[in-house]
């Protein structure tokens, strides 16, 4: 066991875990942030996507010992009030089915929109292909990303976001 002081959603958190523990389980079991989901444990499904210093990463493939003081953002910290344009669009268009993959989908989509506020279909396909949705809610997710881009452009943006 080793102690690690982490920056998670803007807060400093200390955990005492085995060095090879993936951030997925640090978040879920040690810090009680269960929005980040376990789907495969091998970086294939994308359900555990978080941001590390603003870039999307698979939490199941990110050992706690490698994180250092990097800023970790999880779905719980994507916006201060749950009103990120993507979160608004997802609720407005009723995107989630079972919803289990959606934390990861939203984290991947958030970094896409940050890089490209008006992504093309091809860009959306390429970026989102790393996240599988077992319910196949792809039709509405694609519409949701476009709707979020509109909301952001019209000024309904996540002004208080941490990133």
């Amino acid at each position: 066991m080793s102690k690690y002081t982490l920056s998670v959603n803007g807060q400093s958190k200390t955990v005492d875990v085995a060095p090879d523990t993936p951030m997925l389980w640090v978040l879920r079991d040690s810090l009680g942030l269960v929005g980040t989901k376990y789907g495969c444990g091998i970086g294939e499904c994308g359900a555990c996507t978080i941001h590390v210093d603003g870039s999307p990463r698979r939490a199941c493939q990110t050992p706690v010992s490698e994180v250092g003081r990097a800023a970790i953002t999880t779905i719980e910290g994507l916006s201060p009030d749950g009103k990120h344009p993507l979160q608004r669009a997802w609720v407005e268009l009723d995107v989630p089915q079972c919803g289990y993959c959606q934390s990861g989908q939203l984290m991947t989509a958030a970094s896409l929109l940050k890089q490209d506020p008006r992504p093309s279909d091809a860009e959306i396909d390429k970026t989102m292909a790393g996240n599988l949705c077992r319910c196949a809610s792809y039709t509405r997710m694609r519409a949701g990303i476009k709707r979020a881009a509109e909301l952001a452009a019209s000024g309904i943006s996540d002004k208080g976001g941490r990133e």
Partner: protein, 719 residues
Amino acid sequence: MKPLRKSSPPAVDRREFIKVSALAGGGLLFGAYLRFGESVAYAESAPIAETFAPNVFISIAPNGAVSIIAPNSEMGQGIKTGLPMIVAEELDVAWEDVTIVQGDLNSAYGRQASVGSGSTVGNYTPLRRAGATARAMLVAAAAQTWGVPESECTTERSAVIHAASKRRARYGDLVAKAATLTPPENAPLKDPKDFKLLGTRVPGVDNQKVVTGAPLFGIDVKLPGMLFATYTKCPVFGGKPKSANLDEVKSRLGVRDAFILDGIETLTPGVAIVADTTWNAFSATDALKVQWDEGPVAAQSSAEMARQADQLAKATPPAPLPAGAKAVEAAYHYPFLAHATLEPQNCTAVFKNGVMEMWTPTQIPASGQGLVTRGLGLAPKDVIVHITRLGGGFGRRGSNEFSIEAAAIAKRLEGTPVKLMWKREHDFGHDNYRSNGWHYFTAGLDGGGKVVALHDAFVKMQGGPGDMSAGGFPFIAIPGSQVQSSKLPPGIPTGFWRAPGDNGNVWATQCFVDELAHAAGRDPVAFTLDLISAVPAPNPAAGGRGFDPAKMTTVLKLATEKAGWGSPRPRGEGLGFAITHTNNAYVAIVADVSVTRDGQLTVKKLTAAVDAGTIINLSAAEAQVQGAMIDGIGAAWFQKVTIEHGAAAQTNFDEYPMLRMNHAPKLVEVHFIKSVAPPTGLGEPGLPAAAPAVCNAIFAATGKRVRTLPIVDMDLKWA
């Protein structure tokens, strides 16, 4: 423990669950409010004063807040929103006044099994009655208060109105009076034409929690002092552990215990590892070495099954075709499929003071309870089952192995809560798979291109759903047609996979009908419409569940019209269609595909027409059909579980690819037929016709017939 909130309506705080411990018609509601995952064993219970609770589903507080129980398991099909909508419609309550509370397993709720697309079908009338009864009591309370006839009172948005005297009373103001009344026997139901809420688009009640990562799912349950467990079974089905390196496992970081479980009637023997974190349990599981007694199933393989299927089919040859008929023959095969719910199987349990309390993502909570009572010798009253949200169901969580596994471990750890978590590899390795299947079709066409004979030698695994009979389309359209069904020896566990039976058999039969149309030199739509019209009108004795040719004709005409059927396409592009009558819904799907010369398939557009009776929630209904179609296509395109040495060869998503955004069709249209008939199922009917529509479109585009799934195994190159 959190203090109990008295007289405080649940609408104030949607983050909380209400635990109903005693309810009776017209009586008081007793309850304790619990945060997600809190234990009822620790909670106090006290009456919530002055709440009107005319039945187990509804309570209305004096401030007007309405609480409606959602009795069934939410797994993405929208049932936690849809069933309370039915109550709210008849209650005539404003939707924004409603708080939805997930029900625990409780026989008072009626049909809590969420399988067979039956949650809405089975609960529609009871929930309408529950709402209508409460409404009638509120009307009576108002009428008595005002001294006017009930017949002069109407209701609207949580209020009773007496138009003649321009009086209006909010439901909340009527609860004290209503609670003193006796529920009427036969409160009138609305005419479906007057529905205001049903048929509209209502977003899922937990969407905000989903998009903010709030705890909802079984995997999210956390109890004070909880430990984490894995349970490893023999990779070969039916095998059991003889011995394991338990001392070595127990010496690993964070491991609290490790033991073999055997001799419990409802439990597959295996090795339990209990640790302080999920990761330490997983790491110790990777270090586990077991001597297995593999048993006889080790001799089974997919290759051997294919050989046996061929032999079995040859033993049931067709009768000679009528003289002069042209023979059309084709063999179709679909493989085993895994459910691969994205949330792996899990269950949390604590055994304390003789009571097993469980938090279970299950489609059939009563079945999980049954496994625990039988396996551990507990009375049903001592096995409490809380239903969590499910990270996907698809039929997988109709079986409840995880319930008895968690309970058996919890019993051993008496007093300590434990969460059993399957690794993804456990999940792929111990599914109840969609059975593989083989169809050997022989048909005869007369000189006019009419089908005069149809024979299907069908083979599947013994056990589980998915058997074939000549009672479905197209067999019922062809007098004298025959299905002869043979079974492979048991051993590989098979079970209910979204649209059981139809998910493979409709693919095979609908592709073969398309082959027949082409062999007859006819347009496949006209050919199929002729077949449909040859089906006798349904027998009223079938209770409205028999194949109705008029309904099928309507959806096929609508889907093909919307999709532009008949417009010429260049080589490499094509339209295909298929139909299905599944869970009594009528579905026609047209697929628009392109295949490049080097064989790259793109499904560009799907167009569905659906008659599912009354639509409860248009948003959820549309999402179910969209998702089911793409699910069906993804399974047919990419997925296959192969059995080698009596075990599943695929262990994770790298070996079992699933359709992702880049392969999802850009355009997906769903057209519902307007109907006031009772609702049919809708979680499954969108699936079966999607894959055959795509395969028939591939034929139209390339001239190549896909007769073995998955499609990805076939070379679609054309020149």
